[in-house]
Amino acid sequence: MDTRQTIAPPRPVKLFHRFANPGQFLRLSGKVLPWLYSAGVLLTAIGVIWGLFFAPNDWQQGDTVKIMYVHVPFAWLASAGYVSLAICSVLSLVWRHPLADLAAAELGPVGAAFTAVCLATGSLWGKPTWGAWWVWDARLTSVFVLFLLYLGHIALVRAFDDPTRGYRAGAILALVGVINLPIIKFSVNWWNTLHQPASIGLTGAPTIAASLLWPLLFTTLGFTLLFAAITVARTRAGVMERRIRMLLMAKTSESGQS
């Protein structure tokens, strides 16, 4: 091995390689997983119960505003999941990180399902408030495109006989799709849309009354932890399944030789 490569790289690269070790990942994720799951369930439960039974109704929407407590977290996770997918893709294309390939393949279906829930709950919210299940405005259309990107990634990663080629193709698709993320975020500011602009920003007070806002913070954090837990668990399973495949292949080639 080239000695310069072991000395020269700065810290982040070393960090990646530590997690690149599948054994290390299995050990660490095994410890973290129960905590992720229990914290996620607890926070989601608090948020849902608070939101459904204790938060006040919106003065115009009435109780329909309660759909916000599930719609907003899923909308956030649809985008955040895609950001994770893009990070995995960079790690895969540039650093050839084997764990990133597996994580990306496992992220795709979870992200697609969460995006589908975002679209479905949004539709269920749109009918009683706007008067329409669906409109092709810039926000709704761009989130629908995000859903298609997830589906494309799922299909592409599994489309090749040689998994490495699938991972590369999927990573490139995922990175091309990153363009869509700022479009989703700013669609409501750049163009006239039926969808309302964001209520919570980095600057200024939120435009949601505090009594309506608290449950949202809990469900957002809760569903995010659950998303992370599911993804980590699936990646764990992926690592184990790959090890099984490799061991089986080694065995068959051994028995073939003897």
Partner: protein, 45 residues
């Protein structure tokens, strides 16, 4: 005016999808662990 069916459907979806993933993944992990233990008894995880 109340819109209970819409709210109920949203919450069923939002809670059901993560639950489905959590259960199916736990099952998948258990199967993988068992198979790994059979094939590779020394790699105890």
């Amino acid at each position: 005016m109340t819109h209970l069916p819409y709210i109920a459907a949203s919450y069923v979806l939002a809670l059901g999808v993560p639950l489905f993933f959590a259960i199916s993944t736990t099952f998948r992990l258990r199967v993988a662990k068992r198979r790994l233990a059979v094939i590779d008894p020394r790699g105890k995880r």
